[in-house]
């Protein structure tokens, strides 16, 4: 059979037979195979541990971001009630970025959970096959002549070998996915380190680099909407001409479109 099925079968069989060709003495083949199997099982365990570690890291970041969202929301409200719309906007921009990152993290935690489950299932299947192989290898050694043993060994070893190749594939895919997650986790860490989600009351006057980047990152309409909503909640009607903070002087604010406050 050609096609996808045939191609996959050929590749796996080639790998399995490479695994079997290493020893000539049947007893040696058996022990060698068994040793390889146990090693592979250890690798799977390690693979699962890696996935769990990656997942925990993302979950910790999620927690931190959730706290930031709450904090920034509160600060935006406080800023707005004290008439500092500019600061409120900054807080909301940061909140917006944090929320976007949170959604991404959430998807990835689910994905990692899925990988963890797959690997755990694979590990159990491999364990069952290895156990069956261990029993069989003793029977083969005890009961069969060398010539007969060769056939039985080949059958048994192919069965386990295939399972090992299969686990190898599952691991490979899990590692690829985990690498992607790590990249995402690092990206969030960088934002954190840059102070993106920091307490905005710690900000100096004026706009810094982070703010300029945030304006690009966060979706402006979403921030505008939220700001308007917050204003109406605080009883500052839309047309309520909230007093603009006198931003003249301190650290050049970049003019918002439609804003004419700057000299």
């Amino acid at each position: 059979m050609a096609g996808l099925t045939g191609r996959m079968s050929t590749v796996v069989k080639a790998k399995v037979s490479k695994l079997l060709d290493r020893a000539e003495d049947p007893a040696e083949t058996l022990d060698y195979s068994y040793q390889k199997q146990v090693e592979q099982l250890q690798n799977v365990k390690k693979g699962i541990a890696d996935v769990v570690t990656a997942k925990k890291r993302l979950q910790m970041q999620e927690k931190t971001l959730q706290q930031s969202v709450v904090k920034l929301d509160t600060q935006a409200r406080q800023a707005l009630s004290s008439g500092n719309e500019e600061l409120a906007r900054t807080a909301l921009e940061r909140k917006n970025v944090a929320q976007t990152e949170l959604q991404g993290l959430d998807t990835q935690v689910t994905e990692l959970q899925d990988q963890q489950q797959k690997l755990t299932d694979s590990e159990q299947k491999l364990r069952a096959k290895i156990e069956a192989f261990r029993t069989k290898k003793e029977v083969i050694k005890a009961q069969y002549s060398a010539a007969e043993a060769q056939v039985r060994i080949s059958e048994a070893a192919t069965g386990v070998g295939e399972q090992m190749a299969d686990v190898g594939l599952a691991m490979q895919r899990a590692v690829d996915k985990t690498e992607n997650m790590k990249a995402r986790a690092s990206a969030v860490s960088e934002l954190e380190e840059a102070g993106t989600f920091d307490d905005i009351t710690q900000l100096g006057s004026g706009e810094d680099d982070i703010d300029r980047q945030l304006k690009q990152l966060s979706s402006q309409p979403a921030v505008d909407d939220e700001l308007a909503k917050m204003k109406s909640e605080l009883g500052q009607g839309e047309s309520g001409e909230t007093p603009q903070i006198a931003s003249g002087g301190a650290g050049g604010q970049s003019a918002q479109p439609g804003e004419s406050g700057q000299a």
């Binding site: 996808l4 045939g6 079968s9 069956a132 192919t158 190898g168």
Partner: protein, 92 residues
């Protein structure tokens, strides 16, 4: 005939079912060549379902080599493409 679905299980199928498998496999290849993600996903799912519904699951502790091996269910179109051209999915 024993068919393995990677990352899942081995299934025992009657030899007469080979023709049906072959047909579904050809549909997957055609969809893959067409580069249509949705068509590929549908064709590949049909192939896997055929194995699952017609086959009998092989016990975990049974040591048997497979006659055919199918890629994992979450295979993407891009991965299927590289399966034909490159090293394939299985690492050394």
């Amino acid at each position: 005939m024993i068919v393995r679905i990677s990352g899942e299980d081995q299934y025992r199928l009657a030899d007469e079912q080979r023709a049906g498998l072959n047909e579904l496999d050809n549909a997957v290849v055609a969809a893959c060549e067409g580069g249509d993600e949705a068509a590929f996903a549908q064709a590949f799912a049909a192939l896997l379902d055929y194995v699952r519904s017609n086959g009998e699951r092989v016990a975990d502790d049974e040591l048997a080599g497979s006659d055919l091996i199918l890629p994992p269910p979450d295979l993407s179109l891009a991965e299927a493409g590289s399966e034909f051209t490159g090293e394939g999915l299985i690492p050394d």
